[in-house]
Subunit: 461 residues, 2 copies
Amino acid sequence: MIIKTVTLSALLVFISALTLKAQLKPDYYNAADSIIVHSLSEQKGYTWLGELCNIGPRLSGSDNLNKAVEWSKQKIESLGLEVWLQPVMVPHWERGKFESACIVSPGACRELNIAALGGSINTPEEGITAEVIEIKTFEELEKRKDEVKGKIVFFNHPLDPCLVSPFKGYEDVVKFRSRGAIEAAKYGGAGLLVCSITSRYDNVPHTGGMRKYDPAYEKIPAAALGFRDAMYLSTALKNNPSLQINLKLDCKTFPDVLSYNIVTEIKGSKYPDEIVLVGGHIDSWDKGTGAHDDGAGCMQVLEVPDLFKRLNITPSRTIRCVLFANEENGVRGAQAYGRYSDSLSVKHIAAIESDRGAFTPRGFEFDADSAHKSGIIEKLNAMLPVLKKAGIEWIKEGEGGVDISFINNVNAHIGYAPDEQRYFDVHHSDNDVYEAVNPREMQLGTAAIVILAYLVSEEGL
Amino acid sequence: MIIKTVTLSALLVFISALTLKAQLKPDYYNAADSIIVHSLSEQKGYTWLGELCNIGPRLSGSDNLNKAVEWSKQKIESLGLEVWLQPVMVPHWERGKFESACIVSPGACRELNIAALGGSINTPEEGITAEVIEIKTFEELEKRKDEVKGKIVFFNHPLDPCLVSPFKGYEDVVKFRSRGAIEAAKYGGAGLLVCSITSRYDNVPHTGGMRKYDPAYEKIPAAALGFRDAMYLSTALKNNPSLQINLKLDCKTFPDVLSYNIVTEIKGSKYPDEIVLVGGHIDSWDKGTGAHDDGAGCMQVLEVPDLFKRLNITPSRTIRCVLFANEENGVRGAQAYGRYSDSLSVKHIAAIESDRGAFTPRGFEFDADSAHKSGIIEKLNAMLPVLKKAGIEWIKEGEGGVDISFINNVNAHIGYAPDEQRYFDVHHSDNDVYEAVNPREMQLGTAAIVILAYLVSEEGL
């Protein structure tokens, strides 16, 4: 039943909203139209992404990351822009030549699809062979801690399919991947297997980072299972709780190596010292080619100064683009930029990140300190009618992005929030390839980001 | 620059909106949560779609359509519901055993990817061989009418990539496919080729319906070219304006055959004579397997009564589901249902259609007569907070759907409007297969449609 209500408080809120009601210059709408037309029809970022993905995956420490840095530098220079390569030492972990998990018990003997988790130690060459204990939660682990010793702990807690937001689901389960090896080792676990964090029910394993091993406990090898094999293993364990798995990992951590944050900018004409930063991360996991995560985000970032230049848009504030060297396994790129900008007290008006895939636009999320929050939401909402042209439906409080979170002197961290339904189909896996990116979805996102950068450069925050 | 404004009229509009501000029962939110959880986690419609697509494409008049009708009947009965098969005579056109277009001129000799347009006549077995005239618009055709005689007219007017809404683009160019053969024949054209209407720059031809040939002019054979081959042909014509194409089509129109609208319903507990209709069309083109168009829509429709039953939701008004027999090349299913409901003065509270692909939810569009419009938008907007749970961002005036447009005695036609960026990648082509449907995107759409049907059944419109 519909109940009609009129409340005084709602009226007061509205009147206050009305007094703040803002109207943007018509030029902004025209500029937005131009940005959209060029982004959609030329698809430059999408074309660049094809070139970047041809290099292969770009894990920190790999030759491919060096190639991607060089490719980015040349691409930026070809746009007539200057590049600053900010040196940063990044982790170097390699998957090695082999990885396998095999049920070796009679009746269930079978290979399982796995991918070592980033940062895992290797096993001996012959692998480790052990019984498996299936655990759903850390609470269950605590209760069953006496059963764990010498076993491979199998955290089987898939992404909750019931949630409309897969990102919310990711937050709920990522702890098993990141902390599972430490928790299992506490009670003498011999290894870790986790169900891949995926929204696609295929058998492609999804890797990802682990927290640093806790020196108080043994380091144990850790890998993600393909979703279907996680279900298979669960069933096999019901039939034979004492089945054994032979787990072989060849992965290894090497000394840190030198890499670079890639920085370019267009100087602001009125307030050159006020920075509107737009960023993504150039590294990726070593599965797929990091097309959505975060190749596409980086290409969207590079399109910002390119579209400004080609459309003769001179920003009032400085537009700075940063492709961070290392996010996936160490956030070293972000830390280095954060230290640099803190040391020089660089004034950032906003830091905008694209690192949630190149899907169709939905909104922008932001975080800001409580003193500025209401003013910022007011300004961003005043920009919303222009952003709507590129498919942005809303502005809301939320997350900015991992890389930009290290920027302290900033009015707002802003995260581009495209539709998220397909993100965990591809995330950190062999599914994350160029063909999984739709050019129109990506380029509409590019337009939204370019428009936001433009509006913030003109209006401030 | 942001200009702050307060206008009296805005205030008045707001106060009037406030007095209409509506609040829905908390039960609705709980019911919506249940619907979403079941739809996303069980993915029944997506599973059914796999079965339906296994039959193959379902063009009117084909054996596959008969199989799809039988499959639908059995599926509905397996859900414990009764089925009414409403007889309807549908067109029967077949593509035949071959179709080809080949540049036969020296230096450019090459096969082009084509698909005959639905309803086209065939060519002689050896084909027709003729020069080609490339035309962009009907206005250009008019100007160059003296050059057309004896030539194959090549309407090369691709979907405008600059538009944010591909549906808008489709409306702009579909006339070349639907009326191109008639317009070309007016001036003695020997055949028609049109650039496929596609947002993916591949070479897969996209078919689609033609208007009935105009008896005043010759009937000429007509086909769509793959996008890349349309671009190739355009370049080849610049190099050699007198190149010739040999066009062979084996397609044929046969006498109409009997098919059926598939109808099921759950009787309303309070107002059994007031119908909330939810519909899609079971036929498809003969390319791909009609997964998005409109297999998925039909499966979303079938999930409405299934979820009502399984969640013990007893609707106040009757929920009627209709899978229309024939939309693509004749809308005969819709016409038959329209005649039937007119003849019995069936009172429809709303007719909801899902026929824009199974992509992630964005909104619902509606049309209603001007007398009821403001009341309906008010009621639908009051439902929006509940619909937002399933990713619906807005309600706006627009199109309901082709099938439901033949229902006259209805308060509102409502079209499910998912994200449209990928729709014309697949539409009417071999790209429209099961694998192109993302289960989460589809099932979130299902939830949105089920929730809307439920709210309308309880609140009326």
